[in-house]
């Protein structure tokens, strides 16, 4: 019975997130650079170094942004989300881990946005799946994750501990990521630009506050799921050691890296955490009820958020009206008839309007 409920919740979440992916983008970072950079490439007809101070992230690895040149960005995010669900199902042969990971407000939001965290998550989890038997492939795939976001470099540590043929793994990874960092070095003098160039503000400095772990699950910037915290007292045994090593190391990596992305920066590790959580949950009936409760609440929460897109999707609301109602005009610039926008960093819609 509970399996059926979980399966239905998962399918419902996939459908709700699909609706979210069809609406116009309203995410700050997406409008600032994830979408605007490919838009500029498209306008110029080439991939090039964007000078100036606005797009300093344009020198970071941008595999997913380049994919956006060819595929609808939000649908691609949604696709990476359900692909990760598929991988989780293949790995665990159960929907439980998939539900724990997927049915959260964070994944729901990212599935409807052009942020690149879901593609990174897909590559990171695929690399974990491959690490035990296919070191070369794992190296290539983690290279793709790093090509999506530089922060994925941190994942090399747990994978290097778990992999048996370290050199093969490392060489294949370096071959994939080298072009990005070399190009950045040639253009700016810094391989990890803007890291090290001294242009990032104080929020990008690592903070070491132990309560961050607690806040991440219960009072986060972007809600994830309390299940990871809920299972914590029950994981102290000798089962699934490889997974526990990965979980511990990725928790440390998350802790020592800047937390500007809120829950987004831990998301790529959560599929593996979800496997551990699912193992604990499957042995305790109370926790299974908790998962059903949380996923139902999360689904309802996401559904309430996505319901705002329905008038637009049914053609009863214009794109401009939708954006004026839903964009955060305090941080993002958009010209609305009755509202003053104090925001900035939104060339995406303006280039579209200007040239088309």
């Amino acid at each position: 019975m509970s399996r059926k409920i979980l399966f239905l919740v998962l399918i419902a979440a996939i459908l709700v997130n699909f609706l979210g992916a069809l609406a116009p983008e309203i995410g700050f970072d997406a409008l600032w650079y994830h979408l605007t950079i490919p838009k500029l490439y498209e306008l110029a007809g080439k991939i090039y170094h964007i000078p100036g101070g606005l797009f300093y992230y344009s020198e970071m690895p941008r595999l997913t942004e380049i994919l956006y040149l060819f595929i609808h960005p939000q649908l691609l995010s949604w696709f990476f989300g359900i692909s990760t669900v598929y991988l989780l199902y293949r790995y665990t042969r159960s929907t439980l881990a998939a539900v724990i990971w997927y049915v959260t407000p964070l994944v729901g939001w990212l599935s409807g946005s052009a942020y690149i965290d879901l593609s990174r998550t897909f590559f990171e989890f695929l690399a974990f799946m491959l690490i035990f038997n296919y070191p070369v492939l794992a190296g290539i795939v983690i290279g793709l994750a790093i090509s999506t976001k530089t922060l994925a470099l941190g994942s090399l540590l747990p994978l290097l501990i778990l992999v048996k043929k370290r050199r093969l793994f490392l060489v294949s990874c370096i071959l994939v990521i080298f072009p990005w960092f070399f190009a950045s070095y040639l253009n700016t003098g810094f391989p990890f630009y803007p890291i090290g160039a001294g242009i990032l503000d104080g929020t990008h400095t690592p903070t070491f506050n132990i309560t961050d772990f607690y806040k991440l699950w219960l009072a986060p910037q972007d809600f994830i799921s309390p299940i990871y915290l809920l299972v914590l007292p029950f994981i102290f045994n000798k089962d699934q050691l490889n997974i526990k090593i990965y979980v511990l190391l990725t928790a440390i990596i998350w802790f020592v890296t800047p937390k500007t992305g809120g829950g987004r920066f831990i998301l790529p590790y959560l599929p593996v955490w979800a496997i551990l959580a699912a193992t604990v949950v499957s042995r305790r009936r109370i926790l299974l009820f908790a998962v059903i409760f949380v996923s139902t609440i999360n689904l309802a929460y996401r559904f309430a958020a996505v319901s705002k897109t329905v008038p637009y999707l049914l053609g009863k609301e214009s794109k401009q009206s939708y954006l004026c109602h839903n964009l955060d005009l305090e941080s993002t610039y958009y010209q609305c008839p009755a509202k003053e926008s104090k925001g900035q960093h939104n060339l995406y819609y303006y280039y579209t309007d200007f040239y088309k």
Binding site: F223, P226, Y301
Partner: protein, 369 residues
């Protein structure tokens, strides 16, 4: 450190007792207001029979005497509870060290020069004599504790569980005797002021979300930001917990039933400040067994520490401010449902975590409590 200072005057609360004693001996009514405090003396008139000897000494001597007797009371209580539990005598030193040097409720009591150690001693003496079949002494000491502070009346539930109606009657008779004695020595006008003006102050809802209030009400007040709905949750939950203690208490050993009743003393009191939690010594000793050592150690640790900068704890983390409450809740559950304690603790843990998450989601959706 506080143990090194007991030979010095300590504590704000002692001033209340001392001033009440002095005023009483001077023929002034302490229920109309104290000398240096903005509130009146708020203990029942019987307590004046216990406190008035303080007024014969000067402040410093009385305070130091009080501190020494308070420490002696807690040590004697530990000895008596150990006797009741049937633990070997050799454990006394160990228990005394853990429940004095490292146990915040006891240190807080001493630091504030509070009265709770004497109540603990009277309750322990009552229970000790009860199990030595000296039931009149038992009734006398319990009625004395009830006379000083109404809350120990919850221990009557233990006699209800044991179907010992005679013992309840003895306690009530002793209580009537104490009231009669207080009527002889404490003028009726004082008693009327106490009943009319002071007693109702105990039922006001002020400051119940304060960190030091570790009762069920304190927990709810912090969790729900002092919501007006709290009484509607608190009273039914308190009623259920009394009912379950009574019902389940009849099926388990007397030690476990007694431990559960002791926990109720702390759980369902609307204001159970941390210094009341020296009463948690009773369930901690009575429930000790090797099988449950981990849970008991966790409970002890939750009770033993305090958060000095509690006002710095952010709202999202304020669940940690209820550590004593959780410890006693777990002890109460262990006493009544030892066989299923893992499931029960998992249940509590799940409920609390899910509830906080749910409140957070509601708040994000602009429905903040």
């Amino acid at each position: 450190m506080i143990l090194l200072k007991i030979l010095e005057p300590l504590g704000n609360d002692f001033v209340v007792y001392y001033e009440a004693a002095k005023m009483f001996l001077s023929g002034w009514n302490p229920y109309l207001g104290l000398v240096t405090r903005s509130f009146p003396f708020n203990y029942p008139p019987i307590s004046l029979l216990f406190l008035f000897p303080l007024g014969f000494f000067d402040y410093a001597v009385a305070n130091i005497l009080w501190n020494i007797l308070s420490l002696g009371s807690v040590l004697l209580s530990i000895w008596l509870i150990r006797e009741i539990a049937g633990s070997p005598k050799k454990y006394f030193i160990l228990l005394a060290i853990f429940f004095t040097f490292f146990f915040f409720p006891v240190k807080f009591n001493l630091g504030n020069a509070q009265i709770n150690h004497f109540l603990l001693l009277f309750c322990s003496l009552s229970l000790y004599f009860y199990h030595r079949d000296r039931k009149n002494f038992s009734a006398l000491f319990l009625s004395l504790a009830i006379g000083i502070k109404l809350a120990p009346v919850i221990f009557l539930l233990y006699f209800v569980i044991r179907r010992d109606c005679r013992q309840i009657a003895r306690v009530l008779i002793w209580l009537l005797i104490l009231i009669a004695i207080s009527l002889i020595f404490v003028p009726v006008s004082y008693q009327i002021v106490y009943l009319r003006d002071v007693l109702p102050l105990s039922f006001t809802s002020g400051a119940k979300d304060w960190y030091y209030n570790q009762s069920l009400w304190g927990f709810l007040a912090r969790l729900l930001s002092n919501s007006p709905f709290i009484p509607f949750v608190f009273y039914p939950l308190s009623g259920f917990s009394v009912f379950f203690t009574w019902r389940r208490g009849r099926q388990v050993s007397w030690q476990r039933a007694l431990a559960a009743v002791s926990c109720l003393y702390l759980l369902i009191h609307p204001i159970a400040l941390q210094h009341y939690f020296s009463f948690a010594i009773i369930p901690l000793i009575l429930l000790w067994n090797k099988k449950d050592w981990l849970i008991l150690v966790v409970c002890y640790l939750l009770l033993a520490f305090d958060i000095k900068n509690f006002s710095q704890v952010s709202k999202e983390l304020n669940i940690f401010l209820s550590h004593d409450f959780f410890a006693v809740l777990i002890l109460w559950s262990l006493a009544l449902w030892r066989e299923k304690i893992k499931i029960i603790v998992t249940f509590y843990w799940s409920i609390v975590i899910l509830f906080i998450y749910f409140l957070g989601l509601l708040c994000r959706a602009k429905f903040c409590f």
